[in-house]
Point group: C2
Chain length 363, copies 2
């Protein structure tokens, strides 16, 4: 049997630096745990635009469709700010999500014990926090038509369309209920059904799907209240299910509760392929951080934890994922910190590579 295949798309900014550490981790699993991957690498975002004049070439798109999992670093940077909308780095990422049909975006917001002091929230509010946000990723206002800027009378109008079919809602709801079954069996669905008809349909379909999961306690919350409750008492949540746009905002809000974006991974999953594995892309929640790119300051943990999610969700290697996550917790407990994790002036930050070294040593 051939090895599972991984396509690595480091992207822009700090993407290549953090991905270099992931490659060392992948090598470690090959050497020490007899877990081998066929790894290839390609371009996305600004890097792809620089090489090919577009943020994702058709060849790269085709490769992404073939592999068992994609690992993506980050896209974007000020250099590309003035590009036309269709050429911006983000479009490469959105094309991957859409064409691979990665409808279920898993964003854990977890507070590491060693870092609980680092949050802007009080320690007792966030210590032990462990939420999973399931964000719909291939539909809604991100992709709905009509969209664009149009002439109307003697002025222009900007239009986007929020659009959800029952089946789109149903499949992401199922993935959230499945996750809830493996966690604490609580699911809170967030929309604005008091204002938006798409939210009414969302609530109705989620309620219908919940009948297949009688053990899961389902609640509904308006998204504005959801944002408030995340700030007020985040530990009330287990799994949160929401749409593409609300998910974008609420997951960033939740991410910030934990104190550092540099720690948070994500998985974007689609339908099962012929080999039974889901279509999948893994990426850190943080962006390309152009301000520190190339300086060796970036925190590689979010990207490494994204690989841990790949082990768990694509390759059925939950034990190996646990092993990798435990190594990271140990390193944090030992006080190893990249610059983003430093509250005190006194401590010297380690570099991206030194953090990689420490994690390898802990493994």
């Amino acid at each position: 049997m051939s090895n599972p295949s991984l396509l690595i798309l480091p992207g822009d900014g700090i993407g290549p630096e953090v991905m270099a550490e992931v490659r060392r981790i992948i090598d470690w699993f090959s050497d020490k745990r007899d877990l081998h991957f066929d790894v290839s690498e390609d371009l996305v975002g600004g890097a792809a635009y620089d090489a090919h004049g577009k943020p994702l070439s058709d060849e790269t798109m085709a490769k992404a469709q073939e592999v068992d999992a994609v690992l993506l670093g980050a896209v974007g940077g000020p250099k590309y700010d003035d590009l036309d909308f269709s050429l911006k780095p983000e479009r490469g990422l959105l094309r991957l999500r859409k064409e691979m049909d990665l409808y279920s975006n898993l964003r854990p917001a977890q507070c590491f014990d060693a870092l609980a002091d680092f949050s802007s929230l009080k320690k007792d509010i966030v210590a032990g926090l462990d939420i999973m946000i399931v964000r719909e990723l291939t539909s809604g206002v991100y992709f709905g038509e009509p969209r664009g800027i149009f002439e109307e009378g003697n002025e222009r109008v900007g239009i986007n369309t929020q659009r959800y079919t029952e089946s789109e809602i149903e499949r992401v709801a199922r993935s959230a209920f499945e996750l809830a079954m493996r966690r604490n069996k609580k699911l809170c669905s967030m929309e604005k059904a008091n204002v938006m008809e798409s939210g009414i349909l969302w609530r109705e379909v989620v309620t219908r799907v919940s009948q297949d999961y009688p053990e899961v306690e389902l609640s509904h919350m308006y998204a504005d209240n959801g944002a408030m409750q995340l700030v007020r008492a985040p530990k009330q949540f287990d799994v949160i299910l929401t749409d593409n746009l609300f998910g974008d905002i609420l997951s960033d809000c939740a991410a910030m509760l934990t104190g550092s974006l540099g720690m948070l991974p994500s998985a974007s999953l689609g339908a099962p392929m012929a080999n039974g594995r889901p279509k999948a892309m893994y990426e850190p929640v943080h962006g390309s951080a152009p301000d520190i790119a190339g300086e060796g300051k970036a925190n590689p943990i979010a990207c490494i934890l994204s690989f841990a999610m790949a082990l768990r969700y694509s390759f059925d290697q939950g034990d190996e994922a646990d092993r990798l996550e435990a190594a990271i917790e140990k390193v944090l407990a030992d006080g190893v910190r990249t610059g983003d994790l430093l509250a005190d002036e006194g401590v010297t930050p380690v570099s991206t590579t030194q953090m990689g070294d420490a994690i390898l040593a802990a493994l």
Copy 2:
């Protein structure tokens, strides 16, 4: 010259209780400060539905168009959950906003010194916080067409439309820049121009309007990053300008930073009327809190501070508004607390009316 006119719409849940305290404050200003208002009262939300079968009668709508300012309590409650979308209490509120064309919604997020400990955020992150969120209130996905739930093939699809014209963006941007000029001259505009064309137009128009306000330092931020930054370091902001839906979520997120929704007022302003005053509605940010309605537990401060905003923005009585706000700060500094403001078990909460008494005494 006749007295300025006020239409009071207490609404549902705790609305009537908190509004009763506002009426005592209004009487105080009439007795002691020679500030007289012609006050009338009417129904909105579930209360209007119970009386007339719809959440706002045409007669009440017509009255709201005539008066100098509307004061609204809160709408909604579980009793009305199963009503058709078009009959829900919220529709009464949305009709007022839309037909009065109240495009500029001012939501201060202010942390009162006496309550800084009460936030879920660390004290140094929120002490002294003073942000003004300007939310567009009459357009965007709240009102855009097409909207609804439609048949498509053999399933249904929920559709809403995000829609902004240049002139809609321009007028709310102007109101935000005007406010910034009277504050710390910093304005941060939030959208998702990396994903939505309506956000591109938003950014372009805001940038154009900024040329008329060269003293104001303008920045742009993606709304997801905005949510994060609000949690991470809210004091970086002065005025935040955003659209209807992002404003709904971001202002609730910001509100929660301060520790209690029971403290936060809002003003919704439209174009100037013949007498020079803007069309205006004032309401607390909190909801109808059906769980405690009728128990005399509600905090009336948000609603009283909404009246202070009316004094300032509709009636040019900034000094009297200051007087009222100072009385409230004094009461808080004295340790008077309704139940929502209690962190410690030891302290006994005061009732809604006792809080009103304390504020009157401080005046």
